[in-house]
């Protein structure tokens, strides 16, 4: 897909499926297209000059975002809503790093952050609303600020 310069463009696609599957961190964005036939809920894409966001709202109301670089790589993911998506799927090949780091980092039931040179994951939430994001620092596009992962 072509990136559109600073003007934001939105494409809303609604398809039906059973189990949502997401392109994993570090994975190719093209797998999202393959997943489209299997997604239930809404897919929305917005593009800037620097990155594209695929936003998927699952049936249970969790909004998942995948941040895709000009090279079509998923460099960051985020989630917000009444649940936490399966991080094994979301983090893909990065999951092992996360699991190892999480087991050695003190958090609390409402907050966990891990940081490694190759991976940052932040998870927070209480009551019925949860938020989290993860990115691979060496996959971030030029001129990108992590405050845009939200």
């Amino acid at each position: 897909m072509k990136l559109i310069r600073p003007v934001v463009c939105s494409l809303v696609v609604a398809v039906t499926v059973a189990a949502p599957a997401f392109a994993a961190l570090g994975g190719d964005a093209t797998s999202v297209q393959a997943d489209l036939a299997r997604m239930k809920g809404a897919l929305r894409m917005t593009s800037t000059a620097v990155f594209t966001v695929h936003e998927i709202t699952t049936e249970s109301g969790v909004v998942v975002r995948e941040y895709v670089s000009p090279g079509d790589k998923v460099f960051a993911v985020s989630w917000r809503g009444p649940g936490i998506p399966d991080l094994r799927q979301m983090l893909g090949g990065y999951y092992g790093q996360f699991a190892q780091a999480a087991s050695t980092t003190r958090g609390n039931h409402h907050r966990l952050a891990i940081e490694r040179p190759g991976l940052v994951v932040q998870s927070s939430g209480h009551l019925r609303t949860f938020f989290g994001r993860a990115w691979a620092p060496d996959l971030l596009p030029q001129n990108f600020s992590v405050s845009d992962i939200n």
Partner: protein
């Protein structure tokens, strides 16, 4: 060090004043202004005040507890006064709902299962840092010091061996499993947040038509522990907020009352968990300001250094104050906490869904320096990052020195509908 401890103890004794007669006193007269009102911490005891203690937690934790407040809870087989066990080190959490006990800690009583009429039920719950799974049971519960009691309460028993041997695939271990005392950080958790049930206060869990994928609360019907199937739980089948089941009138909210902590920290802190708001002389709002919460999310707004953070809350289950501040460096040892070169004094303005505002002053010390004193478990100036760009979480550090009220939805509490915070 001893002088410090003596001073801290004296300070605690000074503020530990019985509030049964209401009203706080301080010396006046002359031209000097009176000192600010002393924090009135209710004396533990019947009918509605439980002992609350911040300490290192039960033995064997992966991480010794920091800024975690505990009570004991007695659970009995329904109808029995002898088939009981009192479990210590149950974390008090105003950020979750429901009583959950680690199976490992429940050693001397077998509670009957909660069933859907046919099969025992189980639940998968996700916290921000992990997933806990286990069967649901029914118990008569009592808070031993206050004597507050409720019968036939649904209780989540986490990590019972027969169930965790076959964890359903949709109870993902995407976050680490917290099915043991060591990984959970306590013997259990008493969720006394501002909602009446853990998943859905007004209807079935999950909300139809969603299937329970990526849901934080998934209920299962289990013909056998190895054949659990996802199910829809009615309100009555969900995990309730135990406070709502205590005898009226002390069932509309809680107050966490913990005294101030010196800047270097403390080994333990003793205070009170008070049940009921505005129902007795020891639990009135007094001069506290009420901040009504968003009724769906429980959020208020915290404005900090010019930015309004709309995912704000006070939470006794957070062990730090977590907020975004790019001028503070995160610790290299642990990215959850800040390590400024010197202690910073910060301030925020909190606002609920009405026009009332409240100032929140707090400090942020270097977390590495705080943690270097390994005998301390309580720190009032522990701060850290918040990964939610709109998040502003005032945790237990903020509770020290404030009586913090959490009112439960559906209750008119001294003229304001819950949910709300107040201090």
């Amino acid at each position: 060090m001893r002088k410090f401890v003596a001073l801290a103890l004296a300070l605690i004794q000074l503020v530990f004043v019985a509030a049964c007669g209401g009203g706080g006193g301080y010396g006046g007269g002359g031209g000097t202004p009176p000192p600010p009102p002393v924090q009135m911490i209710a004396t533990p005891g019947p009918p509605n005040v439980e002992s609350l203690k911040v300490d290192v937690g039960p033995p064997g934790l992966t991480f010794p507890a920091v800024n975690t407040a505990f009570v004991s809870v007695t659970v009995c087989v329904p109808g029995s006064k002898t088939m009981c066990q009192t479990i210590d080190h149950i974390e008090v959490d105003t950020g979750s709902v429901g009583l959950r006990i680690l199976s490992e800690a429940l050693t001397s009583v077998t509670l009957p299962p909660e069933t859907d009429g046919t099969n025992p039920l189980a639940e998968c719950v996700q916290f921000a840092d992990g997933t806990s799974y286990g069967s649901l049971h029914v118990a008569d519960i009592t808070l031993p010091v206050s004597g507050e009691a409720a019968a036939n309460v649904n209780v989540h028993i986490i990590g019972d061996p027969a169930y965790v041997a076959s964890i359903p695939s949709n109870c993902p271990p995407g976050l680490q499993r917290e099915d043991t005392v060591a990984s959970f950080g306590a013997n259990g958790i008493l969720g006394v947040g501002p909602f009446t049930d853990d998943c859905n206060s007004t209807g079935a869990c999950p909300l139809p038509p969603a299937p329970p994928l990526s849901q934080n609360f998934i209920y299962y019907s289990c013909p056998t522990p190895g054949t659990c199937a996802t199910t829809t739980a009615t309100v009555a089948q969900q995990l309730p907020n135990p406070v709502t089941l205590f005898p009226s009138p002390d069932n509309n909210g809680v107050i966490v009352e913990l005294p101030s902590v010196a800047s270097a920290g403390a080994t333990t802190v003793s205070g009170s968990l008070v049940f009921g708001i505005g129902t007795r002389t020891n639990n009135g709002l007094g001069t506290a300001t009420v901040l009504p919460e968003d009724p769906f999310t429980g959020f208020i707004t915290g404005t900090y250094k010019g930015t309004a953070y709309i995912d704000g809350y006070l939470d006794s289950g957070s062990n730090g104050n977590f907020f975004t501040d790019s001028s503070l460096t995160a610790c290299t040892s642990n990215p959850n906490f800040y390590c400024p070169a010197s202690t910073m004094s910060e301030t925020a303005t909190l606002r609920g869904t009405n026009a009332a505002t409240l100032t929140a002053n707090f400090s942020v010390a270097n977390a590495d320096m705080l943690f270097s004193n390994t005998s301390y478990t309580a720190f009032s100036n522990l701060g850290g990052t918040n990964g939610d760009a709109m998040g502003f979480d005032l945790g237990l550090p903020f509770f020290y020195g404030h009586n913090v009220f959490t009112a439960i939805e559906g209750n008119n509490v001294s003229g304001t509908m819950g949910p709300f915070f107040a201090y």
